[in-house]
């Protein structure tokens, strides 16, 4: 099983800075905007972006939440495994706010579809945007596209995009793993 480096630690850092700037351009002081990381792996992206926005661009306060989509997935009872949930933590109101959903890899679009349903349990946002670090082209099952994308990659179905974070996996790196 071969694996190829898609992005190095340095490249990831540059991309995160660009994404942070793009968010800043559209949302300025984040007074009416909330960032929601999709569990489990979108949380790393949202935490990095928040840190950059606060430490390097002087944003004072950003509402950050984590959303678990397990109970909204469309493949319940369709696989062998029981789907296990993780924590949802949204301790602010999203009614009339601009919500930015954040995930690491956009593949079929089904997780985002579930997240769009899930987030509405917390109120009616003014608008919802999507940010993903990696966008796997030509593999969508649903008409969903990101507003902010880190890097577009072409990967065939058997391949997997593996995102590693220093906090969890010891280093920052993104690999394309073959069959």
């Amino acid at each position: 099983m071969g694996q190829k480096v898609l992005l190095s630690s340095k490249e990831i850092n540059i991309i995160l800075h660009r994404l942070a700037c793009q968010l800043l351009e559209n949302h300025l002081d984040f007074a009416n905007t909330v960032l929601i990381g999709i569990q489990p792996r979108g949380t790393y992206v949202v935490e990095r972006l928040t840190r950059i926005l606060k430490e390097e661009y002087g944003v004072k306060h950003i509402d950050v939440g984590f959303l678990d989509i397990t109970f909204y997935r469309d493949d319940f009872r369709r696989g062998d495994k029981t789907l296990s949930a993780t924590e949802t933590k949204i301790d602010f109101l999203i009614e009339d706010k601009k919500v930015v959903l954040i995930d690491d890899v956009l593949y079929t679009g089904r997780s985002i579809r579930a997240a769009l349903t899930a987030i509405q349990s917390f109120g009616r946002p003014a608008e919802i945007e999507l940010l993903t670090l990696i966008d796997r082209r030509f593999s969508r099952h649903l008409p969903i596209q990101p507003n902010y994308r880190g890097r577009q990659v072409d990967a065939i179905n058997g391949e997997k995009v593996k995102v590693m974070w220093k906090e969890n996996d010891g280093k920052d790196a993104i690999y394309l793993v073959g069959r």
Binding site: T82, S121, F122
Partner: protein, 308 residues
């Protein structure tokens, strides 16, 4: 997290400790869900559940129904009082008729011990036992332990006394199994006539003095006196029972430490506990009811994910 080791929830007896922990972790997530502004998730939208109650119930039936609806399952309700059971239909026939309408799961309460186990051997649906005679009431025991865990952080190592009618109580038996499984210390307390003969073989101790029992425990689970199940007189009068085994505020305040009061409901106010005890800060009776919905959502969700 993994999956449950069982296909049905017939009793705590059939669960492993890891099953109980899995149910609790899943219930944590559902507890968060039922506190949202929209309290419903779509997970079980293609599952149909029949609630079959051959015995009266308010809390358990409502709690199950709410849990099912919050998971988006389709629900049908059946009470024996208004059904063909009165005309002499057998249990298997009744349930098979319901199942032929494409029902995936059955929640059943029945006056006979072992009714759920019997049914699970004869029908294909997943069975959840919502109380079978004086045998088990597993979801009640799970929500009781979950409430202790929520209040005191952990169940292991805690001292729990179950007070009252142990003999006729399925809540007591399921609680003993659940608490022992999680490593709690358990005593039962009540008049000798209401303690089963070999209860100590379950690894619990007997204490007939209520004050001693309360001074020992962290949690007191006060059971209801089930007059409807009494075939003979087990104690002279209700008044005498209350004097010896009822908890009032004066007794509660005179203890060495602050204990937690639980009650599975329905409460006979003034018999097992007085109103000021039931409504005191130490009582977690209403938390138990809230947790009941989360626990039942977790059990239904985990069992439903095994239906292929």
């Amino acid at each position: 997290m993994g999956e449950l080791g069982v296909k049905h929830l017939l009793g705590i007896k059939y669960l492993k400790e890891s099953d109980v922990q899995l149910i609790f972790e899943t219930a944590d997530h559902f507890k968060e869900v039922i506190n949202r502004s929209i309290k419903k998730v779509p997970s079980l939208r293609d599952i149909t559940i029949a609630n079959i109650f051959f015995e009266n119930s308010t809390r358990t039936k409502l709690s199950f129904e709410l849990a099912e609806k919050r998971l988006s399952a389709d629900v049908i309700n059946f009470s024996a009082g208004q059904s063909s059971v009165r005309k002499g239909e057998t249990l298997i026939d009744t349930v098979n008729n319901i199942l032929s309408m494409k029902v995936d799961m059955v929640v059943m309460r029945h006056p006979n011990p072992g009714a759920g186990i019997f049914l699970s051997k004869h029908v294909s649906a997943s069975i959840i036992n919502a109380g079978d005679g004086a045998h088990e009431h597993p979801t009640q025991a799970l929500l009781d332990s979950y409430s202790i865990r929520e209040k005191l952080g952990d169940v292991a190592g805690k001292n729990v006394v179950i007070v009252g009618d142990i003999l006729h109580s399925r809540v007591a038996l399921s609680n003993i199994f659940a608490l022992k499984l999680q490593g709690a210390n358990v005593k039962v307390c009540g008049p000798r006539t209401l303690l089963p003969k070999y209860v100590e073989s379950l690894g619990v101790e007997i204490e007939t003095n209520l004050r001693k029992a309360l001074n020992w425990c962290d949690v007191a689970n006060m059971l209801r006196i089930q007059n409807e199940r009494f075939d003979i007189g087990y104690f002279p009068t209700t008044r005498e029972y209350t004097q010896q085994y009822g908890v009032n505020k004066k007794l509660l305040d005179s203890l060495d430490k602050e204990i937690v009061i639980m009650h599975p409901g329905p409460i006979n106010r003034g018999v097992e506990v007085t109103s000021d005890v039931a409504d005191s800060k130490q009582s977690i009776i209403l938390n138990q009811v809230e947790n009941g919905v989360a626990i039942r959502m977790a059990v239904i969700y985990l069992l439903a994910s095994k239906i292929k």
